[in-house]
């Protein structure tokens, strides 16, 4: 019996955090998001050496074949660093769909390249979460037609996995008839795109057997939760440090009970949530019969907790927390995006009730 992170997981967290501190400190993050690309491809390739890019790729395809809890540990560090990297879209969602359902040939073609960071993919499956007006993709006569919205980490991907019902179509970014349009969001550390399909012929198509798509989305929800966790950790440590440093009315604001209590409320909210996240991550590999429910409740909970928490952190900071120059806003927005990604709290709570037969 051992509930908690292992030595290896703590080391992994430390390694990724140190990497980000060195290679992607906040000034570099700002450079990346102010530039043309929404991610830092060099840093991503460099992370391949640490096993990050291929953490969910099987060893047979050159990956590290880690657990989802390991991946969540990585995602927490990436959230903590507000890293502009396609961990959710490419290393989690696309990787798991390929791993779960693609043919051996497709797996052999793509998984090694995802693992070594030389290629990136994204999953177009927002329709599974929310069906929206003016979007949706059909597949008829061997051609894809329509629009796929909110493709996470879709900017600069080499190929897209496009879900149409339970079918998945692999479309290279260079495919004829494919239009890729960036969707500017509040959080510029992660990129969403819209894909337009005009009679696009996929390079490959396969059926997402064994609920591979749902499993990938479950995993994605755990990973987004982990990202929120990392963001919240950062927001708390920035708030405490700021409160110790900043003086008002002749004393550090950390001596004001109101400020201390705001910090305490943030911690009180995040610590049980962290425990929930670990369990949800663990269950994805080890207790699959519980994992859909746990991933759903976990993401709903983090959406709410994170949302409240970054507001409190901004309030602790006062005016400076509202500026662009001060870094807290990066996490405020990152959590703002995460809250809605792969379903907001109302949506997920309704889904959780259905999963248990309570609705």
């Amino acid at each position: 019996m051992d509930f908690g992170l292992s030595e290896e997981q703590l080391l992994l967290a430390e390694t990724v955090t140190r990497f980000l501190d060195e290679r992607l400190p906040v000034p570099r993050v700002r450079e990346v998001i102010d530039g043309d690309e929404s991610i830092d491809p060099d840093a991503w390739r460099a992370l391949a050496e640490l096993g990050v890019t291929g953490c969910l790729v099987p060893e047979t395809h050159g990956g590290a074949e880690l657990s989802l809890l390991d991946a969540a540990v990585i995602a927490t560090a990436l959230g903590h660093g507000a890293a502009p990297l396609p961990f959710l879209g490419s290393a989690t969602l696309a990787t798991l769909v390929l791993r779960g359902a693609a043919s051996p040939a497709v797996q052999s073609e793509w998984l090694p390249r995802l693992a070594d960071g030389s290629a990136r993919m994204a999953l177009a499956a927002a329709e599974r979460i929310e069906q929206r007006q003016d979007s949706g993709v059909t597949f008829e006569g061997g051609r894809l037609q329509g629009t796929a919205l909110f493709v996470i980490d879709g900017a600069g991907a080499d190929a897209y996995l496009v879900a149409v019902g339970d079918d998945v179509h692999l479309v290279p970014a260079s495919a004829d008839g494919l239009a890729i349009k960036a969707l500017p969001t509040i959080d510029r550390t992660r990129g969403l795109v819209e894909l337009g399909f005009e009679a696009v012929a996929p390079a490959d198509s396969f059926l997402a057997v064994g609920a591979a798509l749902d499993r990938a989305v479950d995993a994605g929800r755990v990973i987004v939760s982990a990202d929120i966790l990392g963001s919240c950790d950062r927001a708390i440590s920035m708030s405490v440090a700021y409160a110790m440093d900043r003086e008002q009315f002749g004393r550090p604001i950390a001596t004001f009970q109101a400020v201390k209590h705001l910090c305490a409320e943030m911690v009180a909210a995040i610590e049980p949530a962290r425990s929930l996240l670990w369990y949800a991550g663990h269950s994805w590999d080890e207790i699959p019969e519980e994992s859909a429910l746990l991933a759903t409740l976990c993401k709903a909970h983090f959406s709410t907790v994170g949302h409240d928490l970054v507001r409190i952190a901004t309030q602790v900071h006062g005016g400076i927390g509202f500026t662009d120059e001060y870094d807290l806003q990066l996490w405020f927005k990152r959590v703002g995006l995460s809250r809605q990604l792969l379903g907001g709290p109302e949506k997920l709570n309704a889904h959780a009730a259905e999963l248990q037969g309570l609705a």
């Binding site: 002749g250 004393r251 901004t314 400076i320 509202f322 500026t323 709570n349």
Partner: protein, 407 residues
């Protein structure tokens, strides 16, 4: 309780409607209700409004105003009718709203004659220089200082959160002029031409990605000592007479009503899984909770108006507007974002984003207002101390305060 205005006011209203209908198209801009910046067409329009008694109404005629007695009901009718007609109300902003009342109360005759008339007509635009990086909630902690050299005050320091600084000819600023004096006592209220050498305006980008504010840097900025309003060292008291006013202006109920209507529209139109967001009982429940709060804030504004009409103090009721209003607006924007689902994350620059990112902008901007102009924390101090008569935080010896950090 009588919500009618009475016949004399209805006459005023009818005349105003007539005016807005026949002359409204002379107003600058299209639909904006107020314009804080200058410009020839605005000045022309403002002069016309003053002539009719529709602007600068309570400012004495000798200083360029319409010279009427204050009448909150007239003020309400003006606000309602200009809003309904979507016609510019003429000059607004910190010059006419904050500086002019201050000068009329505390300024020298010379200062009144020089500054009030052009400010009233919109020919002179002002910005406010109060907040500093080290003095947000605690305005008395300002560090920008002026040393007196003969007839000249030489200012060094930095101001922050100055909106419209880039369009202003003048700033009214708080400057520490008596370094020896106690915290609140050493501050003067100074009028500073923005083109004075050594004064530098830099846009301040906020988390919204836009520069709604500026920073203003002072490097040996020289202004005449005569530009001090009132006596040296009195600035804290002078500024406080208008600060209360600003706190009431923020979080007005009209903003909430507009946002509420907007959220209903979003929820009606936003379709997810073939249903409008309005069909979601959970989101609808949130909407109704916020509608009750929106109506409550509107009623509350009417109640405060009622107190003013009766010449009574609004008591503790007058202190809670900002705390509630900004939070409500923030929550309304948050509901709109949630109603859009994943689409709620989109921001300016894509036609997929509803109203070009308006809701995310409001969500962030209203949070800024909760923080700015006296944080929620400070508002709660004010409510409990002034409103409930609870004691101030006991003074802490500086040594105890600092040693606490290590403790």
């Amino acid at each position: 309780m009588d919500l009618s205005y009475g016949p004399e006011y209805e006459t005023f209203r009818a005349e105003l409607r007539e005016f807005l209908q026949t002359r409204g198209d002379e107003a600058p801009g299209r639909a904006g209700e107020v314009a804080s910046l200058g410009g020839e067409s605005l000045v022309r329009w403002q002069k016309l409004l003053i002539e009719h008694g529709y602007a600068a109404r309570n400012i004495p005629k000798e200083y360029g105003g319409a010279g009427a007695e204050p009448d909150p009901l007239i003020a309400t009718i003006l606000s309602e009718e200009f809003g309904r007609a979507r016609v510019s109300r003429g000059v607004a902003g910190q010059g006419i709203d904050m500086l002019v009342p201050t000068l009329l109360e505390h300024g020298s005759e010379e200062q009144k004659r020089s500054y009030v008339p052009p400010t009233v007509t919109g020919e002179m635009v002002w910005c406010q220089g109060y907040s500093e990086p080290g003095a947000g909630s605690d305005l008395a902690a300002i560090q920008t200082h002026g040393r007196v050299e003969g007839d000249t005050l030489v200012i060094n320091g930095q101001k922050i959160w100055t909106s419209t600084a880039q369009f202003s000819q003048m700033m009214f600023a708080l400057v520490r002029t008596e370094p020896e004096a106690a915290k609140h006592a050493g501050i003067s209220y100074v009028l500073v031409p923005m083109d004075t050498p050594g004064l530098d305006v830099r846009p301040l980008k906020t988390m919204t990605g836009h520069a709604e504010f500026n920073e203003v840097f002072f490097d040996e900025v020289r202004v005449p000592v005569a530009n001090i309003v009132g006596r040296r060292g009195q600035g804290w008291k002078i500024a406080n007479t208008t600060l209360g006013h600003e706190r009431n202006m923020l979080g007005s109920s009209a903003t909430s009503e507009g946002l509420y209507e907007g959220v209903v529209r979003v929820m009606r139109e936003e379709q997810v899984d073939g249903h409008s967001a309005l069909e979601s009982p959970v989101l609808r429940d949130r909407l109704m909770s916020l509608q009750a709060k929106t109506i409550a804030m509107k009623c509350h504004a009417m109640r405060l108006l009622g107190s003013r009409l009766r010449g009574e103090s609004s008591g503790v009721a007058g202190l809670v507007t900002k705390l509630n209003g900004c939070q409500l607006n923030h929550d309304l924007a948050g509901l709109a974002i949630d109603a859009m689902g994943e689409g709620g994350v989109l921001y300016r620059g894509t036609d997929r984003s509803r109203e070009n990112g308006r809701w995310q902008f409001q969500y962030m901007f209203q949070l800024g207002l909760i923080i700015g102009g006296g944080t929620a924390q400070i508002q709660k101090n004010i409510i409990s101390e002034r409103g409930l008569g609870m004691p101030r935080e006991p003074k802490v010896a500086a040594s105890a305060a600092k040693s606490g950090v290590k403790g």
